[in-house]
């Protein structure tokens, strides 16, 4: 039972036009030099936020277009999403220990 809907399920047959690759490439290069330049500007705590945000945008462009996930099946998107979600889980829950180690008010502390 082949899926005939527009994008989903047609990842294997869909050929991404070269134009898309060049656009994404340009965006990636621009963002690289922007992030490098912004790091020299004093923004305090925002420096890290901006740098990571730009990195996330760049990575998303690579995943969606260079790696064809935008045109891929639902399952592919699910697998990518699960992987990223688990990474966040690892980072966030482990960091929760370190962030709360200095909190006081619990018996024994």
């Amino acid at each position: 039972m082949a899926d005939h809907s527009a994008h989903a399920g047609h990842g294997e047959h869909h050929i991404v036009p070269k134009r898309v690759y060049f656009l994404v490439f340009t965006a990636l290069i621009v963002l690289t030099w922007v992030t490098a330049w912004v790091s020299t500007v004093e923004l305090g705590a925002l420096n890290t936020v901006v740098a990571l945000s730009i990195a996330i945008v760049k990575a998303s462009l690579v995943i969606l277009f260079f790696m064809h996930v935008f045109y891929g099946t639902r399952l592919t998107k699910l697998i990518v999403g699960a992987g990223l979600f688990w990474l966040i889980l690892l980072l966030f829950i482990a960091m929760f220990d370190y962030w709360t180690r200095t909190w006081v008010g619990v018996p024994g502390r």
Binding site: A82, L89, L90, I93, A94, D97, R101, R109
Partner: protein, 541 residues
């Protein structure tokens, strides 16, 4: 439902279709790979068992008269490493999972047969590293390799064993990868997700854990090896490193790993209980979803191993609550299995005996886990024999009993012969009684305060230790007997037909042993799973 005619053993099957060592060592057939895995994991099981014998011999007396403390440390470390990484984690997935999953989904093989073979060889390479370390003098850090002892102070072969486990992890990852793709993409026509056997659901959930968790222990061991080998401080306090970070990273995998060990076993139990009650599993959907829930929630609780490790108390609170929640899906399964048997036509065959044992022992193990999940109690019980008893109840009383149930249940399918019923029932009882005698006293010992990983103890603990060691010898015999009579049955066992138990899943609809490509005609599924309503399905041999 497609039924194959009952062929005699002499027809072409996966065992006799090709001969010679090369045809086995270079095979792509998932069934042959499963049999090779069966042989190697059995070898490592008995090696780990020898170390267990060493432990129980030493602990029969309070004084350290058999080993000195360093040697004892090596003995329990190797017991843990071999049993966990080289037996329990691959056991059901690599043997029964590899054999049955293509059959149960109606496929000719797994999605990537060559990768399946590769995973076997990677296991072998990892095993070689570990054996080399063993022969050279062993490791004394405990299977948990806590830093800074393992990174800076231990005199054992930490790097070698670390590399061995690292390599072995890839075997696990490749198996999980193969299962996920096979279950998603190679189900035969009409085989929707909720028509799949619960064994397949269990392995799907297990594979998710293998994929998401194993890489983390890989990178943890990688950093440990770097620190120990090149003296680059990651966990070393002298450089501001945090030894507790090692524990976070280690347990992020190692806790879900215990669910890798139990979920496939639960899958076996679902099949065995359903078949020998001649009833479809009660609450099929709940059992299926609970497998996935255990896989997901199992990743959220690892901090319960760090309650007394100077982890923040707030983090401990969160991990404690989540550890209680993760028990719920397991409990749901136990209730569903029990309800399946109610009003069923229960037959007490050997696999069923093991399954019933599983339900009782796993429940005890799971409940005692809740004791440990409570932070206050854990302060008293952690690092005592209570913990040792708890995990042996779930891993032996649970996982291994499920493994034995599965081996017996599918033995006729894999080899076309029946195992001898009387010796197998005797063994099952020896295992059950020996196991309880070995490990129940350990709950009491732990509560009384006996610490784990010590080769000596105060004389007031001796009585229970002697009971435990006595139980271990009975348990050992109980484990040894199947190795003997199962091997015996390969030559002298009664020939088995395609469906000696009257079961309904796809693997029983083809010959025993199956032909090389599993089915003569690709099955088309039109009914729901576990349809026991028609008597003619019950071809009880």
């Amino acid at each position: 439902m497609i039924t194959a005619t009952a062929p005699a053993k002499t027809e072409v099957n996966y065992l006799n279709c090709e001969h010679g060592l090369k045809s086995w060592l270079l095979t792509g057939d998932h069934k042959r790979i499963a049999v090779m895995y069966l042989i190697v994991v059995t070898v490592f099981f008995f090696m780990g068992g020898l170390y267990a014998a060493g432990i129980r011999l030493e602990l029969a007396t309070p004084a350290g008269d058999l080993f000195d403390s360093n040697t004892y440390n090596k003995v329990f470390t190797m017991h843990g490493v071999l049993m966990i990484f080289f037996f329990l984690i691959p056991s059901i997935p690599a043997t029964l999972g590899n054999f049955l999953i293509p059959l149960m989904v109606g496929a000719k093989d797994l999605a990537f047969p060559k990768i399946n073979l590769l995973s076997l060889y990677i296991y072998a390479v990892g095993a070689c590293f570990t054996l080399w370390a063993l022969i050279s003098g062993g490791v004394d850090t405990g299977w948990t390799f806590y830093t800074p002892f393992s990174s800076s102070y231990s005199n054992g072969y930490v790097i070698t064993v670390g590399l061995g486990i690292f390599i072995n992890g890839f075997s696990s990852i490749l198996t999980g990868l193969n299962f996920i793709v096979t279950i998603h993409r190679m189900r035969s026509p009409g085989l929707k997700w909720f028509r799949l056997p619960l064994f397949v659901w269990a392995h799907y959930a297990t594979s998710i854990i293998m994929i998401l968790g194993t890489p983390v222990i890989a990178v943890t061991l990688f950093l440990l090896v770097l620190e120990r080998g090149l003296h680059i401080g990651f966990f070393d306090p002298a450089y501001g490193g945090d030894p507790v970070l090692f524990q976070h990273m280690f347990w992020f995998y190692s806790h879900p790993a215990v669910y890798i060990m139990i979920l496939p076993s639960m899958g076996v139990i679902s099949e065995v209980i359903s078949t020998f009650s001649s009833k479809k599993p009660f609450g099929y959907t709940f059992i299926a979803f609970s497998s996935v829930a255990i896989a997901v929630f199992g990743f959220l609780v690892w901090g319960h191993h760090l309650f007394v490790a100077s982890q923040s108390t707030y983090a401990g609170l969160v991990f404690s609550i989540l550890s209680y929640i993760v028990a719920i899906p397991s409990a749901i399964k136990v209730f569903n299995w029990t309800a399946t048997m109610y009003n069923g036509r229960v037959r007490l065959t050997t696999p069923m005996l093991y399954a019933l044992g599983f339900i009782g022992l796993f429940t005890i193990g799971g409940l005692t886990g809740l004791f440990l999940a409570s932070m206050g109690l854990d302060v008293h019980l952690t690092d005592t024999y209570f913990v040792v008893a708890h995990f042996h109840y779930v891993m032996v009383g649970g996982a291994i009993l499920g493994y034995l149930a599965g081996i017996h249940f599918w033995w006729p399918k894999m080899f076309g012969v029946m195992y001898p019923e009387t010796p197998s029932k005797i063994s099952a009882w020896l295992v059950f009684l020996g196991f309880n005698l070995t490990f129940f006293p350990q709950f009491i010992l732990g509560y009384m305060g006996m610490p784990r990983r010590y080769h000596i103890y105060p004389p007031e603990f001796q009585v229970f230790n002697v009971l435990s060691s006595a139980g271990a010898s009975i348990l050992g015999i109980g484990f040894l007997l199947p190795a003997i009579y199962l091997t015996w049955s390969l030559k002298y066992g009664k020939p088995a037909g395609p469906n000696p138990w009257g079961s309904t899943t796809l693997e029983w609809q083809t010959a025993s042993p199956p032909p090389p490509t599993n089915f003569d005609v690709t099955p088309v599924i039109t009914k729901e799973a576990y349809d026991y309503s028609h008597e003619e399905v019950l071809d009880i041999g």
